[in-house]
């Protein structure tokens, strides 16, 4: 929970989540990539503010979950 000590990182990560979800829903890859860039910015801020890699990983997994969920019409494996 060290991420809470870095408000800027949190804001960037939240924005990344919104853009990633939006991009995934609309299959807009530009939006998703913008979300990825915000992930990068958030990670830099989090690490500079002393957050651990565990928190960064949790955020990464959450963004992965948002972007990897199958859309309607996409079958399973």
């Amino acid at each position: 929970m060290e991420l809470l000590q870095s408000p800027l990182a949190l804001v960037l990560y939240l924005s990344a989540a919104v853009l990633t979800a939006w991009g995934a829903a609309r299959r807009g890859y530009v939006l998703s990539f913008l979300g990825g860039l915000l992930w990068g910015g958030g990670t830099v801020c989090a690490l500079v503010d002393g957050a651990g890699l565990d928190g960064v990983l949790v955020i990464t997994l959450a963004l992965l979950l948002i972007s990897a969920a199958p859309r309607r019409g996409e079958g399973g494996p």
Binding site: Y29, G36, L63, L64, P77
Partner: protein, 463 residues
């Protein structure tokens, strides 16, 4: 060298590059050379043992191709099996058998210092399947010693399978291969999925499993949670290994079989074993179950064959009675299902019934993992005793060392598991940004592992 080592990340691109730069005629030599280097990283003398076994199998194959008299053919088969099983028996089971006999006679066995070569059980089973197939006339003997050695030593599947059949792998190694864009993409996706399973999921779950299973008196709730996590760990560890193997081979233009097909979605134990470690299941079916009569000689003979297969399968995994117990418990579940089907019970038709079958199968399989993960039968008995004692859940969570952050990470990784099958084996690839996040998650997990000084190893390497 291990797939999850930094060395492999340098070795694989170099091997792939060398292979494709070489003209077709010399590729077998390049692949054999890099495979032997890959294995020699563990031990040079044990590489000699692998070559000796390959030589024996090659000679017996030639003899089987040449001799027509049944007695001579049986002799060639028997000699090859004696070499293969003799080596495996001495290296893996000598101390176990001697210790058991000593214990029965009331003495103590001072174990010999015998090193078990990595992957010995896997390449021995491949060697046996080759000789048996040539003996049965299903396969022409391979006359080129280089190709036969490569079949046994092909580095992607040398250490922990899949246990490929010569009829599938040798033609692929022999034909002129071309690298297509589809091969590169599929190979990289399999590699990414395999590394994700191993580094992000299996190693993380393993932390809590080790904490509970190494505690002297773990709480029952800790045993339960650790056993469920071990079910996830061993699946992701071995399926991850198999995917890295398949991905590495695909970059060389070779397709390996799918060794795991979402086994925890199986409804019933027969279905489970058609999805879990598929190559080993097929090996036991073809070379033990069917020769023992299979389902063709009555229910009694079939039950005998089932228990023979599962006890041998347990013993194959490790020279410990706990592994035999694990095999027998699966044998009992499998036999129970056979008898239930004969009595006209199941399979379920309603959705609720199907869901219940799935949950029951997963629960029973997870329960059996206790024997697999425990250090010995005594340890398994202790864990079972704790499991059925009154629980102190806060003490159990403290024993596991599970924090709130760990809980969130665990929930996220478990939620991602279905996507891993789409990543590695699905026809439709996940969207580009998901691929980037898969890669980033692996990279961050690898950094965490380096930071903590821990280096994971694949569970199945010990077999």
């Amino acid at each position: 060298m291990s797939f999850d080592s930094g060395t492999y990340l340098l070795f694989l691109p170099a091997a792939v590059l060398l292979h494709w730069l070489c003209p077709h005629r010399g590729r077998w030599a390049v692949l054999l050379l890099v495979s032997l280097l890959f294995y020699a990283k563990w031990s040079v003398p044990l590489t000699g043992l692998l070559l000796a076994e390959a030589g024996a199998v090659w000679l017996s194959g030639l003899a089987l191709g040449h001799w027509r008299r049944p007695a001579l053919r049986r002799l060639a088969l028997g000699l090859a099996l004696a070499v293969c099983f003799g080596l495996l028996g001495h290296l893996k089971y000598f101390n176990f058998l001697a210790g058991t006999v000593s214990a029965l006679l009331g003495g103590a066995w001072d174990a010999w210092d015998i090193i078990l070569p990595v992957g010995c059980s896997f390449y021995t089973f491949q060697a046996v399947s080759y000789v048996a197939d040539v003996y049965r006339g299903r396969l022409e003997p391979e006359r080129h010693p280089g190709y036969l050695t490569l079949y046994l030593a092909f580095f992607p599947q040398l250490v922990a399978g899949p246990i490929e059949r010569a009829g599938d792998l040798l033609p692929q190694l022999r034909r002129e291969r071309r690298l297509g864009r589809g091969d590169v993409e599929a190979g990289l996706r399999l590699l990414l999925g395999g590394f994700f399973r191993k580094v992000v999921v299996a190693d993380f779950c393993g932390r809590f499993v080790t904490a509970a299973y190494s505690a002297p008196e773990p709480d029952g709730s800790a045993v339960l949670l650790a056993t469920l996590l071990f079910a996830v760990q061993i699946y992701c560890d071995f399926a991850g290994y198999s995917e890295i193997a398949a991905g590495s081979a695909r970059l060389l233009g070779v397709r390996l079989m799918r060794n795991f097909d979402r086994p925890y979605l199986a409804r019933g134990f027969r279905a489970f074993w058609r999805r879990w470690h598929v190559s080993l299941g097929r090996w036991f079916t073809d070379y033990v179950y069917i020769p023992l009569g299979g389902s063709m000689k009555g229910p009694g003979r079939q039950l005998f064959a089932v228990f023979a297969v599962f006890s041998l399968s347990g013993l194959w995994h490790g020279a410990e009675w706990s592994f035999v117990m694990w095999g027998l418990s699966h044998g009992a579940l499998f036999a129970g299902e056979l008898l239930a089907r004969r009595a006209g019970i199941g399979p379920a038709q309603s959705n609720a019934g199907k869901g219940l079958e799935l949950v029951l199968t997963f629960t029973a399989v997870s329960f059996c993992w206790i024997f697999f993960r425990a250090d010995s039968l005594g340890h398994a008995a202790l864990l079972l005793g704790r499991l059925f004692s009154p629980w102190d859940i806060p003490a159990g969570l403290a024993c596991l060392g599970l924090t709130a952050m760990d809980g969130i990470r665990l929930a996220l990784t478990l939620a991602l598991l279905p996507n891993l099958d789409r990543l590695g084996w699905g026809k439709q690839r996940p969207q580009d940004m998901a691929l980037v996040y898969f890669f980033l998650a692996v990279a961050v997990s690898w950094l965490i592992r380096l930071d903590s000084g821990g280096a994971g190893t694949f569970i199945y390497f010990q077999f």
